[in-house]
Symmetry: C2
Subunit: 217 residues, 2 copies
């Protein structure tokens, strides 16, 4: 079983590496990082480079495709080379998946029209504009399309997928080996749990970002 994880400039590293760490432990999995060109790809903060070992042209029929999110998704969601590749591999994939704003890239490829899907909480409105039926759930299955909420949610998505693919015991084994027994010291991981003023600040920030971006174009 081949698992392809897409990389692009400005991806968020945990979106990719969280589910990678769990999915790549599936029995008989071959996991490949793939980008337009092979070589190092920089993250959103510019302080991490992950190597894409394969080019898009090298990976034509993965069983699972995973698109991470990140600020770079805004450019990638209209990058025809990537979108063409996504449509092509989606035609034969068993699972087409995303974490965070990776769903905007799937949406840009037209793959989420009319489907239930999720994204980072600050990007749900844009996901809706791409034709998806948005939901604030953490992991959303709609047929073979699986989308996860922001950044760290890809770990939960991976466990769900492993359970479906290889059964509960394999999922529990991988959860045990990665010691995924979360004990965050705060309970602020979603907009309905975080302090209201923090949520409002970031909502305002996101709108400003979009205005600036629109002005740039």
């Amino acid at each position: 079983m081949q698992i392809a994880i897409l990389l692009y400039d400005g991806f968020t590293s945990l979106d990719a590496v969280g589910p990678f760490e769990l999915l790549s432990r599936l029995p008989d999995a071959e996991t490949v990082f793939v980008a337009e060109k092979p070589g190092p790809v920089r993250n959103d903060q510019g302080n991490l480079a992950l190597v894409a070992d394969r080019s898009l042209a090298d990976v034509t029929a993965p069983d699972i495709v995973l698109v991470p999110g990140g600020p770079g998704s805004r450019q990638t969601m209209t990058d025809e080379t990537v979108l063409r590749w996504l449509r092509a591999v989606d035609a034969t994939s068993t699972w087409t998946t995303s974490v965070c704003t990776g769903s905007l890239v799937l949406g840009g490829a037209g793959l989420l029209k009319g489907r239930r899907a999720t994204s980072h909480w600050l990007a749900l409105d844009i996901l809706g504009l791409l034709g998806a039926e948005t939901t604030g759930e953490r992991v959303v299955f709609d047929g073979k399309y699986v989308t996860a909420a922001g950044v760290s949610s890809g770990i939960d998505m991976a466990l769900h997928l492993i359970g479906r693919i290889a059964g509960e015991e394999t999922a529990q084994t991988i959860q045990l080996l990665t010691e995924y027994d979360p004990q965050p010291p705060y309970d602020a991981g979603s907009p309905d749990k975080a302090p209201a003023k923090v949520v409002e600040y970031w909502r305002a920030q996101a709108v400003t970002d979009d205005l600036v971006r629109t002005g740039d174009q």
Copy 2:
């Protein structure tokens, strides 16, 4: 504030990237991946390469040093070049930290003698041999030494550290932006929660691994 994350052949990627994603969002943080030689460093499964942008010689006084775990820790815990560097940076660090079997490397450098510390549940016995007072807790503070349990626990460690360094609101903000609101579909993330036969199988496996390793030397 400089945060240095050590890379070595055979590291486990989520050990490094989990806390990286959160810690690097600290205000004024400069986060650097560092290894004996700059360039791509392969993970434990050989299917991911993260770029070390700096060599050990380039990074002499980080405020935070973080050592991830992984099967490669067994070689690294006796690698005098790395251990010398760790002792040197520890002399001026504000926080010296590890995830998973990264604590075996700190222990190899003699930094955990008589200190409360943790590691991957399968490596607690070896950590004890290095002079640490082991505990099964997920995140352990002993003065400036902070150790986390297996793989995914580095995310929780990062939130604890952010709270101590920058306060609760910054920690909550970073938790919200990374949407760290864990909802694992199974509850098997520690040896006291996973099915007993899975735990026993892996305990036996770890002993076999150690015997094979000892036989190799």
